[in-house]
Amino acid sequence: MSKGYAGKVLRINVSDGSYRTDPLDMNEARQYIGGRGFNAAKLYKEVLAGTDPLGPDNKLMVATGPLVGTMFPTASRFNVSARSPLTGIFGDTNAGGHFAPEMKFAGYDQIIVEGKAEKPSYISIREDVVEIRNADGIWGSTVFEADIGIKKQLKDQWTQTLICGPAAENGVMYAGLFANQVRAAARTGMGTVMASKNIKGIAVRGTGAIEVHDPDGFKELVLTLEGEIRNHEQFEGRRLMGTTRILMMADKGGFLPTRNYTQGTFEHASEVSGERLAAEYNVKGRGCFACTIPCSRIYSIREGQFKGVHGEGPEYESLGSFTSRLGNRDIELALTANDLCNQLGIDILSTVGAIGWAMELYEDGKLSKEETGGLELNWGNKEAIITLIHQISKREGFGDILADGAFKAAEKLGKGHDAVIAVKGMDLIMADPRGLKGFGLGYAVATRGGDHLRSEPFIELADDPSIGQEMFGAPGASMRRSDVGKGKLITYFEDWCAVIDALQPCKNIMQNMMILQFPRAAEALELATGIKLTEQEIMDVGSRITTVERMFGIREGIGRKDDTVPKRFTDTPLTEGGSSDTVMDIELMLDEYYTERGWSLETGHPTPAALRRLGLDHLAGDLA
């Protein structure tokens, strides 16, 4: 067996409680490396077009990578994939914490859950012993209570859990899965898929060991990377604020989504900033497994309306979502809502995507108080925000409509999609693409729907043409307001993100801080596993993962017509701030992107030649 990997894939059928282990397919490992790659390869093969996302034939796949369960800095992450109930295409989400290394110590690189249990249950994996256990007393409880309850039932405080909350049980289409209570794998409704199988969570515990191919070389690389991270100019800011450091940066650049993307700056930004959070509410730092910059933070509210609230995070996306995005200047409301969403188990971006859409319509007089069930959805109405989070999670009142996501809610109420900030049904993050056009192209083409983590072309933030010139011979690639040069930018960054998601360290550190570029990634893979890939070959792994996920969507009917962004980003410029007076030329950007990928300009489908170059000839038959 190759080193680095745990070496086995566990497949559990919860319909009858049967399970089996297969040795890891080392050919697949060379082609896809691990994590997101393993899920992409198997989901494409096993979950066929038109499979009901919430039916027993959908499969929930959890996979981690070959660097995880070692001391490789930040290697702690896993991906969960299935056909998404929110988007109908490739559903996929990634989180850190301590669940993934425990999977490896238990002997597994990937866990596949199939079928549907007869009654509410949870899965317990203790190395070779797999049980489907009765979830009496645990079903219906919050993420936090379920984590504690499962550990109590198993009489094992060292077990690691991956759990869905009551929102998933109630069929909210964007319910997530949570490791260590707060490490959210919450995008695209993977919690909803788990609950649809009558499964509340997976508990895993292992005592095995991971060995690496070249221990001395591995240690040397680890020490080098740890040093680079510690000496990085962003180290201190990330340690103190995590991603919340972005909020003031985004406001200054005029791309801080405010009042549902009708503005790019927030007049109260400094009141809800990462700096304020760190100074007034944080009590300690926290990190995922093997992290060199523990960038998560524990907060506590000690007085006032929200006294007694405490929790972990929030990240920038959550902090911005519950403040500028909803026109709310009270940082404590954001901290309270963050903790509430984690307890109930819902994705914050989709939750706020739905609430923000409703608030914009309400303020514009396009949604009435009768339609909201009496809620006054004015910007910054704190009580309404908290009420809606509860209503969404229970699918009660107006929340029942929002629980399908903004995109479907708009359809149901016949309101049109102009104020829906989503791509392919997936709600966007907190970065206005009018001021970050490469990010915008990334949203349009991302294989899981509107998303930045499939590419995250952070070099745009520097707004320095020399970077794009050097990397791509295209100065516009790294100029944030330029429409030109983005095809090369997004292709490169998508492939890079896919490789990181396959190896499974933290993208925030390894990619955004420029620590693990392709040659280094290949070196890490070889030292850990003995698998030797050239720089071109490891880039091809990234292309292959992206292409297979794209093909999963194409099989469900998507193409160029769906690779778009919300209308305001192409039609309506912002009027104030650092990203004003410009819109996206999405068609030009798509042409560049498809050309770079070797895909059809007309359909946005990979050509047979592009598939062949990646050894994916066998998928060509699925191109309509």
């Binding site: 369960g69 060991a209 300690k284 926290r286 497994f289 093997a290 060199t292 506590s300 405490h310």
Partner: protein, 151 residues
């Protein structure tokens, strides 16, 4: 004597100490092979690494039926030749600082340069002259919860 000092308020719970310990002693990675273990309470974000504190009175030494445990160069030490892995030491240690995986694992301070201390990313661990600590993780967690206003 020098001991491993823990500042629990700084610990981020990353468990790199466990990985480094396992690797430096066994050339592979496993919490089950680590002589240091991070105790946690996730709801409050609390973390506390536990390794042998080198107590002046050591109940495991007294309790070991094989006399496998003794003092060597001032440190509690297990002779693996004599250890049968019965687990009694694990049960009687006041601080859960001994782990039995096949044989009893006790912190050896890496011969005077503990690698967990050297590699801790947050400065939680320090190698310093000090009396043995008597605070358990549970006591430390109660103290911090009160200090930080958790209800």
């Amino acid at each position: 004597m020098k001991r491993i000092k823990v500042k629990a308020e700084l610990c981020a719970g990353c468990r790199q100490c466990e990985m480094v310990c396992s690797f430096e002693h066994f050339n592979k990675f496993s919490p089950s092979l680590a002589r240091i273990t991070v105790h946690k309470e996730d709801r409050y974000g609390l973390d506390y690494p536990v390794a042998c504190r080198q107590c002046n009175e050591c109940p495991p030494i007294e309790a070991c039926p094989e006399q496998a445990l003794s003092r060597k160069d001032g440190l509690t030490w297990c002779s693996w030749q004599d250890c049968t892995g019965c687990g009694i030491c694990e049960k009687v240690c006041t601080y859960d600082a001994i782990k039995v995986t096949d044989k009893a694992l006790v912190c050896d301070q890496c011969g005077g340069d503990p690698q967990c201390v050297a590699r801790c990313p947050t400065g939680t661990l320090e190698y310093a002259e000090m009396p043995p600590s008597t605070e358990t993780p549970v006591e430390a967690f109660s103290r911090l919860k009160e200090e930080w206003g958790f209800e």
